[in-house]
Amino acid sequence: MNILLCAKQVPDDAVEVSMGADGKPAIDKIDKVVNAFDTYALEMAARFKEAAGEGEITVLCVGPDDAKNGLKNCLAVGGDYAYLASDEAFEGSDMQGIASILKDAIRKIEADKGIAFDIVCTGKEATDMALGQGGILLADKLGTGVITNVIAFDTDENGVSAKQETEEGYRTVAADLPVVLTISKPDYDPRFPKIKAKLAARKKPIEAVAADALSDEGKAAAGEGNAKLKILRSYEPPKKESGVKIQEESDEDSALAAVKMMTEAKVL
């Protein structure tokens, strides 16, 4: 089974982002990490591969040169091969652009290696922009089915069967292979890299994919100039004015004072 993971490098989502003096979100000084949902996808793929006792996991990222660090981390926790699609021509792409780049990169990797990916997986959304569109747009371009918000999956001779998380439970969704899966948080955490795996990952090559891999359709979609959704400006949301703080002698008194205020405000 050939599995491809699309991973994105994002600013550490544990850090609060504020606006920089240049009118853009100040993310340069924040550590970059692999998008949490992509790490869940990698862990799920790694467990699937281990259970099957065969298969290979290729990790593909569209991003700047420093995204190599994230790819190295992926290679240390289950990834077998890594590709970085990086080119000035890719910068400023919107989601349709990114999906086109991913599609062309996937087709190039498949052609170069003489394989076809059975499962393409990615996080259900990235923690930075949280659009949740990538998997669906990519499936459309690849012409495959897509199952979103997956928390478990398995394959058999009929294709893939996945557990899709819903607000009140789950759905069991079936599709033919190849398929695109977008992964939500399962009830386990991604593994930590072992030192040996980390060292081995450092030695593994990261293959490059550049703009010359793009099809005509990809060229027409990639880059800022082709973006259909144009960002005008970013800003911090207006802060809600904070109200009164109550800290009486005892917690009991504080509680009584609060209920009095709530009654006066007629919110009860």
């Binding site: 609060e16 982002v17 979100p25 989601m95 349709q96 949280a130 659009l131 949740g132 569109q133 669906i136 747009l137 371009k141 495959t144 089915g145 897509v146 199952i147 979103t148 918000n149 069967s161 899709q164 819903t166 607000e167 009140e168 439970g169 789950y170 759905r171 069991t172 969704v173 079936a174 599709a175 398929v179 259909k228 959704l229 144009k230 960002i231 005008l232 400006r233 970013s234 800003y235 911090e236 949301p237 802060k239 809600k240 904070s242 109200g243 009164v244 703080k245 109550i246 800290q247 917690d251 009991e252 509680a255 009584l256 609060a258 209920v259 709530m262 009654t263 405000a265 919110v267 009860l268």
Partner: protein, 333 residues
């Protein structure tokens, strides 16, 4: 689609148990705004089986025309089928904009339509405005809600957006529209994934989005037993129980109670946060609440920055007194 060929607004109405979900009614408000701007109409689309009542209801709530696609074929939701039906309606109506509630399924349908029309979709929209050319300016959150950004779709049509629940209010008054039944079949070759089974794990459905009062608990509650105080206060107030991700991960309450970026975005009249420090991912989900009361022992907790009343103290000592006092008031009333 050519920009000059498009006119009007199309709204997809998601239903649950035969009734429109709350956000589907809310999006008729921005739909009317957009239609007023271009002097056009609002068309709503309802897909499902036995959705006549839902369609009639929407005709009273702000749609000029409701297209009802009522068929056993659509008894169960299927992303590929529903998106293809919508694609056919859009092809026919040629709207300048398509609005969809940002539910889990709505957020899947929107990019499918964006792909079908080689357009773009805005996700989790929290506000709209217009640029000088009449294009919609979509306001969206990024970085867990710490940053907002405005974006436009200048040329591609239709402009598509999924609107976050609680952003707009249902219209109080609306023109009366008409319902039109249509028989539209999804193309045979579009269905690539099929739902075999749908399971409700949670015993009760939790309606956080429509709740007027929410009492939420976080890790500061300490134990599952202590968390019961949150449940008790919610019951006393006739409210709904909310929770933070840590409280859910600790197994104190099922995950359909989660409030925040990865749970429900809520906008109650009263939100009581118990033992919640106020991580951005949680605050993002509650900032539209009318009145926030927070109880936390750490006086520097971020939750106090958004609270109307912040009680600095031990939540497990404050809550029992609050409960008794409110109970007394209720009994006197």
């Amino acid at each position: 689609m050519n920009k000059q060929d498009t006119k009007g607004v199309l709204v997809y109405i998601e239903t649950a148990g035969g009734a429109p979900v709350k956000v589907s009614e809310e999006i008729l408000e921005p739909a009317r705004q957009i239609a007023a701007k271009s002097g056009s109409d609002v068309t709503a689309v309802v897909i499902g089986e036995n959705i006549g009542d839902a369609a009639a209801q929407i005709a009273e709530k702000g749609a000029d025309t409701v297209i009802a696609i009522d068929s056993p074929d659509y008894k169960d939701y299927n992303l590929d089928a529903y998106a293809d039906v919508l694609r056919q309606v859009i092809d026919d109506v040629k709207p300048e904009a398509v609005l969809i509630g940002a539910t889990q399924d709505g957020k899947d349908i929107a990019p499918k339509l964006a792909a079908a029309f080689d357009s773009a979709s805005a996700s989790d929209v929290v506000g709209i405005d217009f640029d000088d050319d009449g294009n919609i300016i979509w306001t969206m959150p990024a970085y867990s809600g710490n940053i907002l950004y405005d974006a436009v779709i200048e040329e591609a049509r239709p402009q598509i957006g999924t609107i976050r629940s609680g952003t707009f209010k249902k219209l109080e008054e609306a023109p009366k529209g008409s319902v039109e039944s249509r028989d539209i079949k999804a193309a045979d070759d579009v269905i690539k994934a099929v739902i075999r089974d749908s399971v409700k794990e949670m015993a009760e459905s939790v309606n956080l989005e429509e709740a007027e009062i929410i009492v939420s608990g976080g890790r500061g509650m300490g134990t599952k037993e202590n968390f019961q105080q949150v449940v008790d206060l919610a019951q006393l107030l006739g409210g709904v129980v909310g929770a933070t991700r840590p409280a859910i991960e600790d197994g104190w309450i099922p995950r359909n109670h989660q409030v925040g970026q990865s749970g429900k975005i809520v906008a109650p009249k009263l939100y009581i946060a118990c033992g919640i420090s106020g991580a951005t991912q949680h605050l993002t989900g509650i900032v539209n609440s009318d009145y926030i009361v927070a109880i936390n022992k750490d006086e520097d907790a971020p939750i106090f920055e958004v609270a109307n009343i912040g009680i600095v103290g031990d939540v497990n000592k404050v809550l029992p007194v609050m409960f008794e006092e409110i109970k007394k008031i209720k009994e006197e009333a």
